[in-house]
């Protein structure tokens, strides 16, 4: 099967859902959600029958679309994220509808599902993009879809504000990105990454300033997507204001696909060691500041969603630390593993946050007080999730940190490792704050009388599967590791 079919099928299916949704007003909206889940799952299984030999793996499809093992791995990764996000969105629909000015009880929640599919297709294209034009187009597909999704709860001021912030800052990042691409094209005469790599091997050093300027602008665009310093300002407000499933999607899917792009661009530059050492130094600086920034700002947070936003900045820092250590030769697998671990643990954390927020009407940490008594299973799942985010052994997050730090040590990034240790110390504090709320502190009066939080069966299955895989891959990482090229 031609790999290009994957995205094609997904996009056509999303259009179909959108059309049916527009002209059929009687069907309950959650059916569209389940239809989207089924479609995504089918595409996920299609990835196992892809035949990359249908296209030249070196040059790809007209030189802009690669279907190597890295791309396929990330496509699967993104599809899994999308399935989780769709299930979360179905659970979240009643809250979403509350903020929509509509007459019928569930009208207006159906578009969400097809939007998730469009964003998913965009991220899958990002994983394959080998050409700056392709990178730009797929990034824009993802970003514009997110503009809509972030502001989806249009009766809610926070959501609208988040949408505006995301729109303006996103537009700036886009323009920086385009400008950078223009500089690279102007200097080298091509936008194809493999060709750029070949040209850079024997380039005159008088061209370095313009190249550095161009790559710097492109990295600025990427660091907006991965939430790295100095383009992390939008993260806390947008994460807090957006609907919870969208936040989860932003924090995992968007970050992962941006890292594939980053790795591809970096790899093309490695052919010129003089240029790449300059750029890697810049990346190390960004990584160090991002780690400090994310971790230190997370410490005083009292809102769990905002805390997860800062923690997402911190994790971007650790991932960038891996990217800055690319000369060690094994930072690619380390980043892939870390992202996989981050997917499992962050999805679990957002999954529990969603149901607790839905039942209490707020994401404040105070509302997690006494959760250990009220709903011990949810509390256990959230405990596992935050421990994994903190990087504790016997959770999948540990091996993520383990691989990242060992590749950083191999690349002799000692200062960065020192900053990383500091960050992990802070991390223990704010992640354990969640555990403290659930187990140490007593619930407030009006909560202690409320009954255990009820969740639907499919949602519970998702949480259980995530929890189990979090522990299994924490003890036995080989299955994930074997998938990574």
């Amino acid at each position: 099967m031609n790999p290009i079919l994957l995205e094609a099928v997904l996009v056509c299916y999303a259009f179909l859902l959108l059309l049916v949704e527009a002209f059929n007003s009687r069907m309950p909206r959650r059916y569209f959600g389940w239809a989207a889940v089924v479609g995504t799952t089918v595409v996920f299984f299609m990835t196992f029958f892809v035949d990359s030999s249908k296209m030249n793996p070196e040059a790809g499809y007209y030189g802009f679309y690669a279907a190597d093992t890295l791309a396929i791995l990330f496509k699967r990764f993104i599809l899994l994220v999308s399935v989780c996000v769709l299930i979360m969105a179905i659970e979240f629909a009643p809250v979403l509808v509350r903020y929509l000015p509509v007459e019928k009880p569930d009208a207006g929640s159906g578009e969400m599902y097809s939007l998730v599919l469009f964003a998913c297709a965009g991220m899958m294209w990002m994983a394959s993009a080998q050409n700056f034009v392709m990178i730009f187009v797929s990034v824009e597909l993802v970003t514009i879809t997110f503009y809509v999704m972030v502001a989806m709860m249009r009766g809610n001021r926070a959501s609208l504000e988040a949408g505006i912030k995301f729109l303006i800052l996103g537009a700036i990042a886009t323009s920086l990105n385009v400008y950078g691409i223009a500089w690279i094209f102007g200097t080298l005469g091509t936008t194809e990454l493999p060709e750029i790599g070949a040209i850079l091997q024997s380039i005159d050093s008088s061209l370095f300033p313009s190249l550095l300027f161009g790559f710097g602008l492109i990295f600025a665009g990427i660091s907006f997507k991965v939430a790295a310093f100095p383009f992390q300002f939008w993260v806390p407000d947008v994460y807090q204001g957006a609907p919870t499933p969208v936040t989860a999607f932003l924090s995992v899917g968007s970050k992962a696909s941006a890292f594939v792009v980053l790795m591809r661009v970096l790899e093309s530059m490695l052919s010129n060691s003089e240029l790449s050492s300059k750029i890697l130094f810049m990346l190390s600086l960004v990584a160090g500041v991002t780690i400090l920034m994310g971790n230190l700002s997370a410490i005083p947070q009292t809102n769990f969603k905002r805390l997860l936003a800062y923690s997402s900045i911190a994790h971007a820092g650790y991932l960038l630390m891996g990217a800055a250590s690319i000369v060690s030769g094994n930072s690619g697998p380390a980043i892939a593993y870390y992202l996989m671990a981050y997917l499992i643990s962050n999805m679990l954390a957002f999954g529990v946050l969603l149901v607790v927020g839905k039942s209490t009407g707020s994401d404040e940490l105070v509302h997690f007080n006494g959760l250990g008594k009220k709903s011990p299973w949810l509390a256990t799942a959230l405990t596992l999730a935050v421990l994994s985010l903190a990087g504790l052994p016997f959770t999948v997050g540990f091996f993520g940190k383990f691989f990242i730090f060992s590749s950083a040590l191999q690349a002799q990034q000692f200062i960065l490792v020192g900053i990383g240790i500091l960050g992990i110390g802070c991390g223990f504090y704010y992640y354990l704050k969640v555990i403290r709320a659930m187990f140490w502190l007593p619930a407030s009066k009006e909560q202690s009388i409320s009954s255990p939080i009820e969740i639907s069966k499919p949602y519970a299955v998702m949480l259980i599967l995530l929890s189990i895989s979090l522990i299994i891959f924490g003890v036995y990482p080989e299955p994930i590791f074997n998938l990574i090229p």
């Binding site: 504790l392 052994p393 490792v417 240790i421 992990i424 187990f439 003890v475 036995y476």
Partner: protein
Amino acid sequence: MSPLVFLILLLILTSIFCYLSPASARRTAFMGSALQLILFLSLLLIYLFRVEDGAEVFYGWKWELLPELGVVMGLGMDGFSAIMLLLATLVTFAAVWATPAPERSVGFYYGNLFLIAAGVVGAFASTDLLFFYLFHELALIPTFLMIGIWGTGDKHRVAWKVTIYLALASFVLLIGILGLYINLPEISRTFGMRELVDLANSGVLQTPDWVFVMLFLGFGALVSLFPFHTWAPGAYACAPSSVAMLHAGVLKKFGLYGLLRVVLPIFPHEMQEYGHVLLILILGNIFFVGYATMAQRRLDWMLGYSSVMHMGYIFLGIASAMVPFAGGGGSYYLNPLSLGGAGILMFAHGISIAILFALSGQLRRRTATLEFSELGGMGKTMPAFGLLMGMGTFASIGLPGFANFSGELLVFFGAFGSGGAQFLNFYQIATAIAVWGVVVSAIYGLRAYRWTCFGETPERWVGSNELVDLRGREKFAIWILVVFSLLVGFWPQGFLKLLIPALLAQ
């Protein structure tokens, strides 16, 4: 599959059962702790019959998790780990049998307690540095929860402090472990402790100095080496007594075990080079903390400080274990006296501090206070308590006949002789000063014993029916610990025969 796997699984399963069915958790905990002790004692007997000396690794088992990267879960038992496992299972048993059940959330309490026990047993059963580390970390979060929920005094602040301190220390340690790992050539990547030592001896493993510093700081902070000791006294004073027993008695030996097993044989030159610094820190442990112990006016804080102080003697054994050959030439031999002394003292200290914490927990439940000024005359009202308290105190201050005495004596002899031929060298001076620590511990130990068990019973306890003596099961569990301490005290050769070959073999 190795029977050690079953031992760890037994503890983890007990923990899960306790979490799942709180109603029968106490019964499950009694059963589980008794079963794990019986299982381990039978494994130990088989081991003693089957092996020549302690050097042999028995019950070996490997699970290749990531074979191409050398990430392997290796379990096994030699003489040294057998003794540490004996300590771990004994203290786990006593921590369940000799302490009262909590008033609320019984299932959660015992579930966490057994998770700590599983981490401890797993760590000492590992032959692989990575899993040694991983199992140790398993105890971190249960400790945090238990101090925070069931602790006493300033429990929340203390729980934060100990958790973040230990988490950071163990991350520093992890960087040290990774430092060993990445300095190996690709083909021989491993975390196996004996393999690493072999590779270092054969010159394949060449490590820069920072690896030693990271490993030493990491292990040192976990053992509360002066000046990284500030987390320990408060944590032990505020923790529920079962956690204090497991943590001070067994878990803290993790760092010493790592130093003896890994750091000492891989870095003999560095141990010599930094030996003088280490000796000064040790004297800080013995005297600075020793005087702080004397100043304590609460039994639990005094025990917490005393446990930090006694680490100094074990460190002295480790610091003096590498002796340069008289002829020079940069070669070293291992001093069996110091090694054996450190090993025996690790076991002895674990037993004695567990006895004392169990008793102080019992006392706190009856009197709701551990201020010396409000105690007294407990020997009259609770004779069994008084007798056992005496035994624990005597063991702790190193009275002849108890295990601590044999350990301390060996360490002092070893340390005095390990500085080379020169008269009054640095090691001899340090040892001569350190011996005075015994006096310090006799002062605070005996004084605490007098204040709690002798003298006038304070007004409020006269005629009160709250001061009931220990129950049969509690006495039984503590007596087992006392018996083992006496066994080692009277017959240290039996334990040295296991310990020294295991430590010299690497």
